[in-house]
């Protein structure tokens, strides 16, 4: 349970990070808060040649409200966002999900971008980002690009990020007037990875429901406002996610959570509109 050897590079600015990734490629790993990466290193599931610490990059330590989105830099810790004034009004779904994300003792160090980069299929932040239709800002020495959340998460701990790219920020769309938001999850212990997580956004056009912990990445479904057809739609959706049995829950239990918890979260989001 000790990491294998690696070099450690404390980058002073973004250019140093991009240069290191350009030189080292897939042999380098970004470390921010380390709350996803350190367990992987301790268990030697990851054995990078060099760690690039981005926490001292001043331009990535910012939370920027652009009006339409809250843009959170790579070096912003979860606890900082949790305490961000007005978060519940600006991005209510993020405010609702953050207390479920790990524990007080991990949110104190972990970053939002780090959790998104790790892309655990059960994690809360990728789920919220997909539910809201947020985006990931990637940068390499060659280019900068913005990838929609739904295109970013491609598989179990697999993302659209290239080896020479760093996530410099993620953007959460801010609350729209007349929209309702809800989040719920079932886990064995508060703060553990969810068995199933649900996030819903309700507005005049309908409901967008996103589910984590079942498929190998968070997946969204659009439902009409009228709840008459929800049960059938949720049943088809639950089967389409191809749930698997594991130590924590059976596939059948997961499908049932999608049906029941999914419905409850959609109703809650609808009620939040009022």
């Amino acid at each position: 349970m000790k990491p294998a050897r690696f070099d450690y590079l404390r980058a002073a600015d973004a250019a140093e990070v991009l240069e290191a990734l350009h030189q080292e490629g897939g042999d380098a790993r970004i470390i921010a808060g380390g709350q996803s990466l350190m367990p992987m290193l301790n268990m030697r599931l990851a054995r990078p040649g060099v760690l690039v610490d981005v926490m001292h990059v001043a331009e990535w330590q910012r939370i920027t409200d652009t009006g339409s989105a809250l843009r959170i830099g790579a070096a912003v810790r979860q606890v900082t966002v949790e305490r961000h004034a007005g978060l519940a009004a600006r991005v209510p779904l993020l405010a609702a999900a953050l207390p479920w994300l790990g524990h007080t003792q991990t949110r104190s160090r972990g970053t939002l971008c780090g959790s998104v980069a790790h892309a655990d299929p059960s994690a809360e932040l990728p789920l919220v980002l997909v539910a809201l239709g947020g985006s990931v800002h990637l940068r390499s020495r060659r280019r900068a690009r913005e990838v929609a959340a739904e295109a970013f998460f491609v598989g179990m701990m697999q993302t659209a990020r290239g080896d020479d790219e760093v996530i410099e920020a993620i953007s959460f769309p801010t609350a729209r007037p007349g929209a309702g938001y809800a989040f719920q999850e079932v886990a064995r212990r508060h703060g553990d990875f969810a068995i199933v997580g649900c996030a819903a956004v309700a507005d005049a056009s309908g409901i967008r429901l996103a589910i984590s912990g079942v498929a190998d990445h968070p997946t969204a479904l659009n439902l009409p406002m009228d709840s008459a057809g929800w049960d059938d739609a949720l049943d088809v959706f639950a089967w389409s996610l191809e749930a698997r049995d594991d130590l924590h829950a059976t596939a059948r239990y997961r499908r049932d959570l999608v049906r029941r918890l999914g419905r409850a979260v959609c109703q809650e989001a609808q009620q939040c509109r009022a």
Partner: protein
């Protein structure tokens, strides 16, 4: 840009319980091992080494954090507090520690240093925390002896006494 090479040891300076200390660490050395093996501060316990059990929780710049999920080189220059820093004097316990004794908040004591460091920070930051919030915060720790009820009792008693003494809430 400082690149710390994998096979060499590098000087790390921290403030440990109010005192400036230094030691040498390979980049891969965990803060938990740096505290225990390099600096000899063995009050911090090591359980699972992947961030689940909470035994190794210390305060980094005032925030509770897992020492096993932190590299020593990451906290160069930081202010670290461990269980050794809680008692106001060698023959006196802190209010929180005293409550743990009074309410039987520990049995074997393995998880206790981590829980104390979490509670010490949390009761300072959130003197008005509800019982539910205390429970949720404690969910970041595993205790296999007490069943948590005495821990929660000790935490609530400490909260009451600390608030009474500071006039908060």
């Amino acid at each position: 840009m400082p690149r710390l090479t994998a096979t060499d040891r590098h000087r790390v300076l921290i403030t440990l319980n109010g005192r400036a200390v230094e030691g040498d660490a390979e980049p891969r050395l965990l803060l938990s091992d740096f505290l225990r093996h390099t600096l000899g501060a063995t009050g911090t316990h090591v359980g699972c080494e992947h961030g689940v059990c909470g035994a190794c929780t210390v305060q980094i710049d005032g925030e509770p954090a897992r020492a096993c999920l932190t590299l020593a080189v990451q906290v160069d220059g930081a202010d670290i507090r461990t269980v050794e820093g809680l008692a106001p004097a060698p023959d006196r316990l802190s209010v929180l520690q005293e409550c743990f004794r009074e309410f039987f908040g520990l049995q074997c004591g393995f998880c206790t240093p981590g829980i104390l460091m979490s509670l010490d920070a949390f009761l300072r930051q959130r003197p008005d925390a509800s019982e539910l919030e205390l429970r949720e915060m404690l969910s970041g720790h595993l205790c296999r002896c007490t069943g948590y009820v005495p821990i929660l009792r000790a935490a609530l008693a400490a909260q009451q006494r600390l608030n009474a003494s500071t006039g908060a809430v």
